[in-house]
């Protein structure tokens, strides 16, 4: 690791001010992605602004039909939360399937969605449920938040404070995990929400995306049969040592059907 400075602010305002005054400063959350990146010397921040001491950034609460999860809430806390289990069990199961126990004890929802790894699990839930990402300065709809490979709509120095999930009528997430890392080779999040059926796919492309033809078919009939034989083009999908684009396209259909089957 290159040398860097380290600060642990105790208010969001202080953290934002530090980031505004130093364009080479970087936010540190659970460090599960950032620390390995620094070790590989793929980044050289001047300082790390650790969000670990900010009051109120970690926590889970329900307000009516909205589940609100603070950016610094760890995967393990979402996985074992009674509130999440009751309100949105698909999200608890998703969190429980991330990486391994040690990773779930450090990694946070904020870090996961800001990093927007093309194989990360949480982005599929945020997009699949039409959640709202709340930052220190504004609210961003999920449809506008994820902008591309490892990219989001966040401005420089902007901090995610919480994610607001509107509760769906039903939802399920199924992934084909990489056997070593548990990242999604492909993962499909299916939800029947107050504003229609949404299907979000992670792992397959250069970032999370919605599968429109699957949404249309499930809107007509929310059954596994409705998506049988549906095809998603392999054209823009990833090919790597784990799976070809064609195989990933095939998995989208298989996993979408499995997800629907668990809640149809």
């Amino acid at each position: 690791m290159y040398a860097f400075d380290y600060t642990r602010p105790t208010s969001v305002a202080d953290a934002v001010a530090t980031l505004a005054s130093d364009s080479d400063a970087t936010v540190l959350a659970g460090g599960m992605t950032l620390i390995p990146t620094l070790k590989q010397r793929l980044a050289q921040p001047s300082q790390l602004v650790d969000l670990g001491a900010l009051p109120g950034l970690a926590g889970i609460r329900r307000e009516g039909d909205t589940l609100i999860i603070g950016a610094m809430t760890r995967h393990a806390d979402v996985a074992r939360s009674e509130i999440v289990a009751a309100a949105l069990p698909a999200l608890a199961a998703l969190a429980d399937g991330i990486g391994d126990a040690q990773v779930r004890h450090r990694g946070t929802i904020g870090g996961s969605i800001v990093n927007h790894d093309p194989a990360a699990d949480y982005p599929s839930a945020v997009l699949g449920l039409g959640a709202t990402v709340v930052t220190d300065r504004r609210q961003i709809a999920a449809d506008d938040f994820f902008t591309g490979l490892f990219a989001t709509a966040l401005e420089e120095g902007e901090i995610v404070t919480e994610v607001r999930f509107p509760l769906p009528k039903r939802a399920a997430y199924v992934k084909f995990p990489n056997p070593a890392s548990r990242y999604a080779v492909v993962g499909v999040f299916v939800a029947e929400t107050g504003s229609g059926v949404r299907v979000a796919v992670t792992g397959a492309g250069p970032g999370v995306f919605r599968a429109g033809n699957f949404e249309a078919a499930l809107t007509a009939s929310f059954t596994p049969k409705a998506v049988e034989g549906l095809v998603w083009s392999a054209d823009d999908l990833n090919s790597d040592m784990h799976a070809s684009a064609g195989y990933r396209a095939h998995l989208i259909g298989v996993l979408a059907k499995r997800a629907v089957a668990t809640i149809a």
């Binding site: 690791m1 860097f4 620390i35 126990a101």
Partner: protein, 163 residues
């Protein structure tokens, strides 16, 4: 170079050290405190040999800065045995031959001990799933799982006896 002063509790003892911001918790443990029971297998967050408990949760100490552990309660493999008596998980690994070369063992033991606090009666599947973050290149895992099952039994009996 800037240094930070960190204070934490390690195996029940208060310790302080001046470290660089980039110092990892595992470096603080091994190099400053000479607690070399915690191993570094990969240094890339994969193998779990460096697993310790931070505020009661198993974490990979190669992927947390010492600064992030400021104020925390840390337990390492050296802090598991009490008054010279091995922890039930350590005893079970010995009894059931849950190791060969032993390199992964400190991490395996710390990870398993955390599991048994959170889930005193895990199924074989739950044990294997929990240990996904710990890699062993020798044993084939079979005896590790057996050891954890036996340790779970011992701990449950001890808890019952105490009631």
């Amino acid at each position: 170079m800037t240094t930070l002063s960190v204070s934490l509790t390690v195996n029940g003892k208060k310790v302080s050290a001046d470290v660089e911001p980039r110092t990892l918790l595992v470096q603080l443990l091994r190099e400053n405190l000479h607690l070399t029971g915690t191993h570094v297998g990969c240094d890339t967050s994969q193998c779990g040999a460096c697993t310790v408990h931070v505020n009661g949760d198993s974490v990979k100490s190669c992927t947390i800065l010492a600064a992030q552990a400021d104020g925390a309660d840390v337990r390492t493999i050296e802090g598991l045995a009490q008054a010279g008596v091995l922890h039930a998980v350590q005893e079970a690994f010995r009894e059931h031959h849950g190791l060969q070369c032993g390199f992964c063992t400190p991490g395996m033991v710390m990870s398993s001990a955390d599991l048994l606090v959170k889930n005193p009666n895990p199924s074989e599947h739950e044990i294997r799933t929990w240990l996904e973050g710990n890699i062993c290149r020798c044993t084939g895992y079979h005896n590790i799982v057996k050891a954890v099952q036996h340790a779970a039994q011992t701990l449950r009996q001890t808890a019952q006896a105490a009631e």
